[in-house]
Point group: C2
Chain length 632, copies 2
Amino acid sequence: MQRAAMLAALALALLLQSALTSALESNTVRAAADEPIWGYQCVKERCERVLVHDAEGRARAVQALSVCKLTCGTSANLWPRPRHLHTSKTLDWVNYSSINVETRGDDGSDYRNHRGGSLLQQASELFREQQMRKATIKDGTPLVKTGGKTLEVTVSLRDPGRHQLTLNTDEGYELFVKIMSDGRINTTIIADNFFGARHALETLNQLIVLDDLEKQLRLPREVTIRDSPAFPYRGVLLDTSRNFVSVDAIKRTLDAMAASKLNTFHWHITDSHSFPFVSQSFPKFHLYGAYTPAEVYTPTEVVDVVAYGRVRGVRVLPELDAPAHVGEGWQWVGDNATVCVKAEPWQKYCVEPPCGQLNPTVDKVYDLLGGLYHDMLSLFKPDMFHMGGDEVNFNCWNNTDSIVEWMVKKNLSGRQEDDFRMVWDHFQKRAYEKLVEANHGHELPVVIWTSGLTAPGKVDRYLDPKKYIIQIWTKGDDPLIKELAEKKYRLIFSNYEALYFDCGFGAWVGEGNNWCSPYIGWQKVYDNDLKKLLRNLGVEPDQTSVLGAEATLWTEQADSHSVDGRLWPRAAAMAERLWSDPVTGWQAAEYRMVSHRERLVKLGVQADSLQPQWCHQNEGYCYLSHNIQGEH
Amino acid sequence: MQRAAMLAALALALLLQSALTSALESNTVRAAADEPIWGYQCVKERCERVLVHDAEGRARAVQALSVCKLTCGTSANLWPRPRHLHTSKTLDWVNYSSINVETRGDDGSDYRNHRGGSLLQQASELFREQQMRKATIKDGTPLVKTGGKTLEVTVSLRDPGRHQLTLNTDEGYELFVKIMSDGRINTTIIADNFFGARHALETLNQLIVLDDLEKQLRLPREVTIRDSPAFPYRGVLLDTSRNFVSVDAIKRTLDAMAASKLNTFHWHITDSHSFPFVSQSFPKFHLYGAYTPAEVYTPTEVVDVVAYGRVRGVRVLPELDAPAHVGEGWQWVGDNATVCVKAEPWQKYCVEPPCGQLNPTVDKVYDLLGGLYHDMLSLFKPDMFHMGGDEVNFNCWNNTDSIVEWMVKKNLSGRQEDDFRMVWDHFQKRAYEKLVEANHGHELPVVIWTSGLTAPGKVDRYLDPKKYIIQIWTKGDDPLIKELAEKKYRLIFSNYEALYFDCGFGAWVGEGNNWCSPYIGWQKVYDNDLKKLLRNLGVEPDQTSVLGAEATLWTEQADSHSVDGRLWPRAAAMAERLWSDPVTGWQAAEYRMVSHRERLVKLGVQADSLQPQWCHQNEGYCYLSHNIQGEH
């Protein structure tokens, strides 16, 4: 009896509480949704948050934050900032369900019959989906009112047949928006080829914002943009061997790259730790080398990733790192093809556990490499190839009898560094031959890391600057860079103090912090000015072949769950450096960087937060050293 | 004509390629799934990866990795490690669809009629769901064979009515597994109350593993565990004001806390930056103070989070920080209730932008606080309360005429630090009265940060150790800790050099790295031994009231998208320190830590990766200084 009464009282209390809270909730939340308290005004090129009503209750002329960011200042909140742009402060209302992208050019030719045109059609579809996503929530409920103007986009390509990016591809574009006499919005995109046109669509996408006060998608009424990248190679490296990264996470990376006009996804697909690439020629590699049977990249998945990247303007560049950085996956080969695998203590034979190198004296090694090159070339269809070639440990070879015996036969018996370099050179030349053979006898640009083969004063003995592009991963002030530039190598910068995004976390062998700590903030990434680095080394940038730069994510301490936050928005900071190459530093880009991070989040990318949201809503107040008093 | 031929050839090529890749894929991937290449053997307390077949093709006796980790060594791969445990090496096959948790005790009383019993029923349901999730993939397809033994779990509680955690709650439990004569598996859990029993279910959950070789869920045949925590307060702080954090992300945090036997979610719900808490008494707080109308916590959501935590053994402890760390949300109040809001240059008036403090001389401030306390107490129903009380900037008050005038009236005209401390003391005493009043006249334990009020030699003038618990956020070697301990304050450690998980990223005002860099690795968190800290300060731990510790995530640079990776698995490292308080350091816990991280990921928590997966599969090879040669 007593218990029953207690239960009844309890039930009543819960019921009352529930009724109370839902009543209060519906009141307060609806009020919040219906009556905005805050709006924004552009004051001295900054968006200032103000109450919608002044102290006397009169409505102020305020804008949505998105509209203020679009129209305040001179960069239209675009990332990367276009080279030349003019956008009107007046906006038009775009009807998100009435967007037509015309892929037929002025000369009447139908681009859809070209492979570049087919890509353009897919990119246009993506563009339309992006507007749909801005205008609706997940279940399709619109966030905007019904109505607005039809948006007509006309694309003219000079080379509609181009469907593959190369180092010479013109990625420039022109973008014009104007209002037509019949009330439609006319957008014209002019580009050499699909890749430029795609960037134009991305720019146009960024210019169309959701106005949450007016409940409209809005676009500047007049736009004139002439844009092209400062550097042709703008990359992100992802290592999928130290930890496996899901295809979904790779696609999110490609989404964010497209949004930032990066153009190269460098897939460091294998290493000593695991071999997730499914080779069609030698299926035992992944059977032995994948972490689990599910953690592999099948041929279909690779082809899918390559296609996904291409329509987003991103080449997928495969790396098969050799002769070091191998191990797992090769266990079935036998014949002493690999040496020092899991050797201990690892410090003697490699830079991190597990050790493992190929044996350059074993013919079978080259046959296997040839098969892997063939598989990769046929799936990736790359315009260039990365052969790795870093961190060969000579002590490993020196402790391998068969290699030492081979060296004696070849009169390399001094067992000095240069002797081992000759062994490596032997490997590199034979591997290169296998690559060209797998490419049906055609050479293609090959990238290789700075390493023992690029040692000061020696690089041109081993590597032909016509064949090899050098990816620099030493510091940006390494005098070697000057030598490489003067010897006319084409260069890609991944100078670790600015572009190694794995730096700064805890140690994974031992304790303390990892080797290249501290963490690199986006500001340092942004200010990693390649031309300045060269000038500081006494090299005139105009006299060099700097192709660009690449942010790297080595995944000893990252996987599908953390790739987004490690890469973004920092890789986007590099993207603006490489695209716009501004004379200004990070300070001038800060508000746009924070906005671009929000843009990436809306794409589904779990980009790291850089600042309190308060700073995004209160431009100019989150500063350290500049005194903004009196400026707003 | 030519174009048509080209297109046809292209289509054919694509078709062939697609057919080829799918044929290859189905072969290779199926082969991988059907025939495991690798298995594990326990060698000298480490799981060693070996080929399933030896060089002569004979099958080796190997285990699944999960089974090896469960049975190799003496900790049964549990996290945190129980105080006393014995588990058999022999395992039984659990039928995941035949699990019964009996909540009726030996004395015949039905726990479901108690609120503690109702919690236990929910926790049992969670336990069953956890086994279901292990045994199936998302669409329900089983990963295991049909069959296995019925698992009977019987729970005996001495105090089945207890439904709320307090600082005195006995969280200990005993857990016994044995096989019954009829073939069922009998598990007995004995605990004082629900909270201990829930921990026992979590331990049992960790003891049941998916064997991917045998396709079974498996559990040690005999288990004897007697377990209890070393410290009663084991917390995680999450700041939802600097950036908003979604309820989903908060629930993921609670999931991971439950899996790690942490028991306090300290919700720093408001600050100067935003006010997302929906107050029922004063709905204008969130209307003015939320970042957007959607970024609020409604009463229903708060009640939901509190209930979600409770069934997972976690108290949700609200903090209303005052009199500093206020600003957004108070704009509608007027009457000079807040001072220095958005004052510039901020460095003069606060520790980070935006500034803002309450005006202790305004009566309305206390009425509003009273209403907020009332709202929070009625929704959170907490057993303790956090009043904040950190980082009051005296210069702010000193620059406010009304405060200075009030001080003159109160004969505090020296305008020295101690005068301002008296103002603060006045605030704290009135606020405390309001809190007790809102709690229907009942006192409850109050936590306050180390701050100006706890300054050396002064703390007992302002804070009664019977009323106040002090949360330490200075360094672990701060002599103040000795003073606080000797003055008999109950202490919670959040010493920033080990427990501030926001440290180590880029700066958010200015450039470089943030103030408390570098990043804190899990090893340092694990080795943050409270008793050692005390002894190093000359304090005998037995003579103190150290309640425990709390990892903090201040969210200037984190939000829903990064909370998981910032907190986990590092907060779990602290969890073992506080639960088991081992005499050993991180080295002895490393393999289990990496396993526990995998466990959190399977729960849906995007915990950071600590090491290459290779290290998880090759125990003992990823070391820095210890020489493991000859040990395996």
